[in-house]
């Protein structure tokens, strides 16, 4: 998903749109939508920070900052005592240790779909349910199925086989969430987790997953009000700081040449 946050004294507008294969060209469209919602012209935006995997494909950004730093800043704005962030998105999952809103260590899984939200999307599709239904279904289970395969494709086959064996859907879904929670918690434990632990990313909207992860870690896990936006909020706050610091020096922040056009990719 591509997200945009526009901030003045507070958040003025936000957009969460599908990224899709054209994201490299069409970052301008989501920006236009956010500007429309805020009722602002593009020239009124004093500073633009792009983050995430697609940050280098945002031609109108003044600065690129990785999602690690942006998540740290964004989460700390909601939870000042946060020390560990777990972010499970569609493409990857990561753990971030933070102090005073700054990252001090991180781990990432960008190698295996089975440790990301993509795993849940594929399994939901296989089971013929909506991804939004998974959390509630899982919470109804008292006997989660054991999913032993650690590869998304093989786990998908395993789920199909177990469904054919007559294992109830709720148990299968709970087993899948447990499997993802296992994988992510193993990775994040490398950081020596400290409380307070915050879960972000699309998967954080899944109540079953929040529970499964909390059980695995042995800590309660908190979720921000809009867990998909914390990185974008962090990017906005960092951009705001840069612009304010420049203003304090009676200067304009260093900006790139801006254009809200599609970029050309060879």
């Amino acid at each position: 998903m591509t997200k945009v946050v526009i901030m003045g004294e507070e958040i003025m507008s936000s957009v969460i749109g599908p990224t899709g294969p054209e994201q490299r060209r069409l970052a301008n469209n989501v920006m236009k939508e956010a500007l429309n919602r805020a009722g602002l012209p593009f020239k009124s935006i004093s500073y633009v920070v792009a983050t995430g995997y697609g940050r280098i494909n945002v031609p109108f950004a003044d600065k690129q900052i990785t999602e690690i730093t942006c998540h740290a800043r964004g989460v700390a704005s909601f939870f000042p005592d946060a020390r560990t962030i777990i972010d499970i998105g569609g493409q990857d999952s990561k753990g971030i240790k933070i102090n005073n809103g700054r990252p001090i260590d991180f781990v990432m899984n960008d190698k295996c779909a089975a440790g990301s939200g993509r795993f849940l999307e594929i399994i939901a599709d296989t089971l013929g349910i909506k991804i939004e239904e998974m959390g509630e279904l899982a919470l109804q289970s008292k006997n989660p199925a054991v999913i032993s395969n650690i590869c998304t494709i093989f786990a998908e086959q395993e789920v199909v086989d177990k469904l054919a064996e007559g294992i109830p859907l709720k148990n299968l879904v709970a087993g899948i969430l447990e499997s993802l929670a296992n994988r992510v918690s193993r990775m994040v434990k490398r950081l020596k987790i400290e409380r307070e632990v915050i879960l972000t990313g699309g998967v954080a909207k899944n109540a079953g997953m929040v529970q499964a992860l909390s059980d695995k870690l042995g800590y309660p896990v908190s979720v921000p009000p809009e867990p998909l936006l914390t990185g974008a909020v962090g990017a906005t706050l960092l951009g705001k700081e840069i612009a304010q610091k420049a203003k304090e020096r009676d200067e304009s922040p260093e900006r790139k040449e801006r254009s809200l056009k599609e970029i050309e990719i060879l």
Binding site: E67, N100, P103, D105, M108, D110, R190
Partner: protein, 464 residues
């Protein structure tokens, strides 16, 4: 793949010495092909197996099979040899150096000539293969046995080169003599095998000269690499992945000694001019373990573009100062080799014993962090090499437990800032030595970017 190969550019080096390595490696690969045509003996060999000087003293040309696989990887041309090994029934999860070498050799034997467009002329058919049992590295025992299936007339000779694993309550001196005696016997067995294969007797005076040259080269390398402590550092790990060639493949030759004399001079001049790897050195990193991805050495340049340099690495630092290694009073070159081997592998044991919770590998990191003024550690987990990569995460965890050099302020429970010390930031890259299918440049560089931002953040949090 052709497209991939075409696009891949030569990596930028900081030193002229490192830039000269490519032609040097090409020449010693060509040299083995010429030697074979001239009827000289060539032997398949592994690096860090102690037989460098013995082979040199007997005019047997070593063919470093790991090096050839690395060249295939660096030229992004290993995939076809890896696939061939897979089709022979070998799993891709085995050592990819071995898979590449076996795939190449099987292809060459099947054709009766070099495979088409063989990298730098190809890997020659050996007269013998020298393997060596060494800790967990199973390919060092099994690779040449597998190759022998396709070259049944080529003999394999296996030597055992053990060293004691670390235990904090056991003195290695209790077992030292037993180990050294065993290694000496193994080396004498190797010499007997080589004498049989070549039909000539070992000239021990010549071996003494070669071992002496090897020991002087060890000291010279130690002194040369020590120059990298300078701020800004004149040479990084990217270059060290080149300069490991004369260290690991040419020990006991005048050429290796002369190479390091040249590097020593070049580094001294750079230090005097305060000429660093990068103009504005911001972060000094330690390459704390793991073999590099040979096809992605330009990642070191990417670090450099962010102001990060690597003044030191533990990978391919296969020497110590001979002044610090215990050597008994002996003129027997075989005994000297055995003592040098043992001394190298237990070098960090005594130091580790003095720090509770430490371990030789961890102690090595700590020493380099202090000597080279290190701000962060980078490691690489190469999935196909268990021997050198098993335990890296454990080392980082243990290091974080016992060594916290960075003073920072953290928010205490009462909301007030408290001073405490924290560990060095670290980054673990994940890929392989030569299997490019495990590598994503975008993901790797995303991790590097995030790590640089973490270093920046830690630097800002640091209490001075």
């Amino acid at each position: 793949m052709a497209e991939e190969k075409k696009k891949h550019k030569k990596r930028r080096t900081a030193t002229e010495a490192a830039a000269s390595i490519g032609p040097m490696v090409k020449e010693f690969i060509s040299g083995t092909l010429r030697a074979k045509e001239e009827g000289r003996k060539v032997a398949f060999t592994f690096i860090v197996c102690l037989y460098d000087e013995i082979l040199r003293a007997m005019d047997i040309l070593p063919v470093w099979t790991e090096n050839f696989a690395g060249i295939c990887g660096a030229k992004r041309d290993a995939e076809r040899f890896l696939e061939r090994s897979e089709s022979l029934g070998l799993s891709r999860s085995l050592c990819t150096y071995a898979l590449c070498g076996i795939g190449f050799d099987q292809w060459r034997e099947e054709l009766g000539e070099m495979p088409p467009d063989a990298p730098w002329g190809g890997q020659v058919r050996p007269d013998m293969m020298l393997s060596s049992g060494q800790i967990l590295c199973d390919p060092r025992n099994k690779w040449y046995q597998a190759s022998q299936l396709y070259m049944p007339d080529v003999p394999v000779y296996n030597i055992d080169l053990p060293y004691p694993l670390y235990e904090d309550d056991v003195e290695f001196t209790d077992v030292r003599d037993y180990y050294v005696k065993h290694i000496i016997e193994e080396l004498r067995g190797l010499v007997a095998f080589l004498e049989k294969q070549t039909g000539t007797k070992m000239d021990y005076d010549r071996l003494s000269e070669t071992v002496d040259l090897g020991e002087r080269t060890w000291n010279l390398i130690w002194e040369t690499y020590d120059l990298r402590r300078a701020v800004p550092t004149p040479m990084g790990t990217g270059d060290a992945m080149n300069t490991m060639v004369p260290m690991c493949f040419m020990m006991g030759t005048q050429e290796a000694y002369d190479f390091f004399l040249g590097l020593n001079k070049e580094l001294k001049e750079k230090v005097a001019r305060k000429e660093g790897v990068v103009e504005d050195e911001k972060y000094r990193l330690l390459w704390g373990g793991g073999l590099p991805s040979w096809f992605a050495l330009s990642d070191f340049n990417y670090f450099n573009s962010k102001g990060a340099v690597f003044p030191a690495e533990t990978t391919y630092r296969m020497i110590e100062s001979m002044y610090q290694i215990y050597m008994p009073d002996t003129n027997d070159p075989i005994e000297r080799l055995a003592w040098r081997w043992f001394g190298y592998w237990v070098f960090w044991h005594n130091k580790a014993r003095k720090r509770p919770g430490s371990h030789p590998d961890v102690e090595w990191l700590i020493q380099y962090i202090e000597d080279y003024k290190i701000d962060g550690i980078v490691m690489h987990e190469a999935f196909s090499c268990r021997t050198w990569h098993l335990g890296l995460i454990w080392q980082l965890n243990q290091l974080a437990k016992i060594y916290k050099p960075i003073p920072v302020l953290v928010l205490g429970k009462d909301g007030k800032k408290e001073k405490t010390n924290r560990e060095l930031p670290s980054l673990v890259l994940e890929s392989d030595i030569i299997d490019i299918t495990t590598y994503s440049e975008v993901d790797t560089r995303n991790r590097i970017d995030a790590f640089i931002e973490t270093l920046e953040s830690v630097a800002k949090s640091k209490v001075h």
